[in-house]
């Protein structure tokens, strides 16, 4: 049959036959392999999840990160300490300031420097603003993943208030690069504190709105309740952190439980947990965390102590030889920096522990046996950021 065809047609014919054969093999075999990603609207980035499907049911699923690996740990080794913060801002790009703090704390620990009281309080305020910017976008995005198109626009609208605050104080909307070893780059601008207290009201209004519009809604609850249940023991085994483990009922928050120089201990707030461990619990816990975060910022702004914002540090920063590990409770979970110094201008080795990498590793366990629409629900509620997985 192919003898009378022109060349291009022959090639197309052979390709079509091969495609048919492929389809037939897959139909005869047990189930069908579906690549969700690396280019797919639900993975907001380049995560690839290989699913074996039986009908619409997932037989097994395997997350394959690495499509956005940027080699930050290696890049940090050839930079000096002030330059490193610029890089690590880009790990979790939605709550950038939170990435800087644990690294700076690790370096300060090695140098034996302690930032002044006021700097620690302002660090905490920015840390919480970063958390709000991050989680507000999560609350909108989870709606998009479930098919509601409106919440994400409200989220972008109200996240802007928080980003404006960060920008007006640091000059960077997304990547403040504001934290320095020994303190902060600048003091706060005039009137910033009042504006921040006013803005927290808007953040709380957003929480109420999103609860009315989406999280309290019947369809949202039907889609998320009982979907992707992670019991506390399994969550602990897989090393989940952050809101993911608190929504499985584990009452553990480094802001309260770790001995940190930051100012959370001066504010009155609650650690939110939920006993269910399903997708709804994860969304609900994050919603409440935004509210608690707004509470923390308001209290810290009102009680901010006066004083210097920078400790005495040499102009050229050299960290003495040694090792230190500092972790903090970031928007996505526990983030830690293991810093090894040999006394040079930059880190000798920097190991970054990012929360999303561990949080997504449970996917192959939790996705087993669910349906394709629930894959999206579970991934959305586990909440990962690709930069945070691959760094």
């Amino acid at each position: 049959m192919t003898a009378t065809m022109p060349d291009w047609k022959k090639a197309a014919y052979i390709a079509a036959q091969a495609a048919d054969a492929r389809v037939n093999v897959e139909l005869e075999a047990e189930g069908m392999t579906l690549n969700i990603g690396p280019q797919h609207p639900a993975t907001h980035g380049t995560l690839r999840i290989v699913c074996r499907l039986d009908g619409e049911q997932v037989i097994w699923a395997d997350p394959m990160p690495g499509y956005m690996h940027r080699g930050y740990e290696k890049l940090c080794e050839v930079r000096n300490y002030p330059q490193v913060t610029t890089l690590i801002n880009r790990i979790d790009w939605l709550g950038s300031f939170c990435n800087e703090v644990p690294f700076i704390l690790a370096a300060e620990q090695l140098m034996g420097v302690e930032a002044p009281e006021r700097a620690q309080w302002i660090r905490t305020i920015f840390f919480e603003l970063g958390r709000q910017a991050n989680l507000i976008l999560f609350l909108g995005d989870v709606g998009t993943q479930l098919g509601a198109i409106t919440p994400v626009f409200l989220a972008f609208r109200d996240r802007e208030h928080v980003l404006n605050l960060i920008e007006s104080a640091t000059g960077g909307r997304f990547h403040p690069n504001f934290d320095r070893i020994g303190g902060l780059k600048d003091d706060l601008p005039k009137g910033w504190l009042d504006e921040t207290v006013g803005c927290m009201q808007r953040v709380e209004d957003f929480c109420d709105e999103i609860e009315d519009l989406m999280i309290g809604g019947t369809i949202f609850q039907q889609r998320t309740r009982g979907v992707g249940v992670i019991p506390a023991e399994v969550a602990l085994e897989y090393g989940l952190t952050g809101a993911n483990i608190r929504s499985s009922g584990v009452d553990w928050d480094l802001r309260r439980d770790a001995d940190s120089p930051l100012a959370w201990k001066h504010a009155d707030w609650k650690v939110i947990t939920h006993p269910d461990g399903d997708s709804f619990a994860r969304c609900w816990v994050r919603l409440q965390e935004v509210r608690e975060s707004a509470k923390i910022v308001r209290q810290l702004c009102e009680g901010l102590p006066a004083g210097p914002i920078m400790a005495k540090v040499p102009k050229i920063i050299k960290v003495p030889a040694g090792e230190s590990y500092v972790e903090t409770e970031n928007p996505l979970g526990v983030m830690g920096y293991y810093l090894v110094s040999q006394g040079g201008l930059g880190p000798f080795r920097l190991k970054i522990r990012t929360p999303s990498f561990n949080n997504i590793s449970i996917a192959s366990w939790v996705l087993k046996g669910v349906y394709v629409p629930d894959v999206i629900t579970i991934l959305a509620s586990l909440y990962f950021i690709l930069g945070d997985i691959d760094r």
Partner: protein
């Protein structure tokens, strides 16, 4: 079949056919443009606290035309391994069913493409033709997302065709006819408990039917919260994933124009169509213009309800929407028929 005239004027067969074809070619795309502009752009952006398109033309009115021109410039891609003939033909099947939907809708008195005795059921029957096109598109694309989307669309059609038809049965019992102009006349003459000079629209006695019809139409049209077949966060674009350029535009046009058609059908069945008290005092072209304007207003109202639901809800999962149809809507619509029958006999 009764040959309906245009404003009661007499035309030769070929003249009237040409006029009808031209009218259809104008009405379907311009209806789609109207819905697309008003709801997809302006109402949606208003609900989402953003501005929406405002650069192309006055208030962004030309945006859809600009988008259409953009689609025409796109490369026409056939996926490797696609069944080329079926792939190319599928959007036309979908669009054809949309055109057929408009046949039986009367925009004014004596203004209709064709008046069938079983008009409303013809509309419901041709609306399910589009699913054949969707299945063709999904199968011929040689894409797993397309296939899953097409199968979901077929399952959804079977589930929601039933409550749609059963909701219409209530209206048919109430009106005593299946012809669309007949249903409008029945609403003009209808009196509820002796009240109602100039008629009562069927939305009052058939409110349950109206709600069921709107929900099922939403599902027929694959709109949120029933948009599992095109769920963009999981299936990319469902059966349309592999389509580009003009073929994608055809799907989009068919989808939006079908919404116009279903909104117009709902307006005709439940809100009295082109009729408001006093409009039948008018004659000739004036009657046509006012009738079209009245129907358009009612259609826009129904369209607003549909898009309102679409913009504010997450989507249901496949099993949930099946359960909703089989144990929620279908028993309710059967109950609606029983109640309608009882009232019809008693009153």
């Amino acid at each position: 079949m009764i040959e309906a005239g245009l404003f009661g004027l007499e035309f030769a067969y070929w003249t009237s056919t040409t006029i009808k074809v031209l009218a259809a070619l104008v009405v379907v795309p311009s209806g789609a443009l109207l819905f697309g502009y008003v709801f997809l752009f302006k109402v949606m952006s208003g609900m989402q606290s953003r501005i929406g398109p405002n650069e192309a033309g006055p208030f962004g009115t030309m945006q859809l035309l600009a988008d259409g021109a953009k689609f025409l410039q796109k490369e026409d891609i056939f996926p490797d391994g696609a069944d080329r003939k079926v792939f190319a033909f599928a959007p036309i099947v979908v669009l054809m069913s949309t055109f057929l939907l408009f046949i039986v809708i009367p925009p004014a008195k004596n203004l209709q493409v064709a008046d069938f005795d079983t008009g409303i059921f013809l509309a419901l029957a041709v609306s399910s033709l589009s699913t054949i096109g969707v299945m063709m598109a999904g199968w011929a694309s040689a894409n797993k997302y397309s296939l899953i989307g097409a199968l979901r669309a077929a399952g959804q059609l079977i589930a929601y065709e039933l409550p749609l038809v059963l909701a219409v049965v209530g209206v048919v019992i109430q009106a005593g006819t299946m012809s669309m102009p007949g249903i409008i006349d029945a609403q003009r003459d209808f009196e509820l408990f002796g009240v109602g000079v100039g008629g009562v629209p069927f939305v009052v006695p058939q409110f349950l039917g109206f709600v069921i019809f709107l929900i099922s139409a939403q599902a027929e049209l694959n709109q949120a919260p029933f948009d599992m077949p095109v769920a963009e966060s999981e299936l990319v674009a469902g059966f349309m994933t592999e389509y580009t350029g003009f073929r994608f535009l055809t799907f989009f046009l068919a989808e939006t124009a079908s919404m116009v058609a279903f909104a117009a059908i709902a307006a005709t069945l439940f809100l009295g169509g082109w009729y408001v008290p006093g409009v039948d005092q008018l004659h000739g072209v004036m009657l046509g213009v006012v009738g079209v304007a009245v129907l358009l207003t009612k259609t826009m109202f129904v369209g607003f309800l549909m898009f309102w639901v679409r913009f504010s809800n997450p989507r249901l999962r496949e099993d949930q929407l099946q359960r909703f149809a089989w144990i929620g809507l279908i028993p309710l619509s059967l109950l609606n028929i029983v109640l309608t029958g009882v009232f019809k006999v008693v009153l």
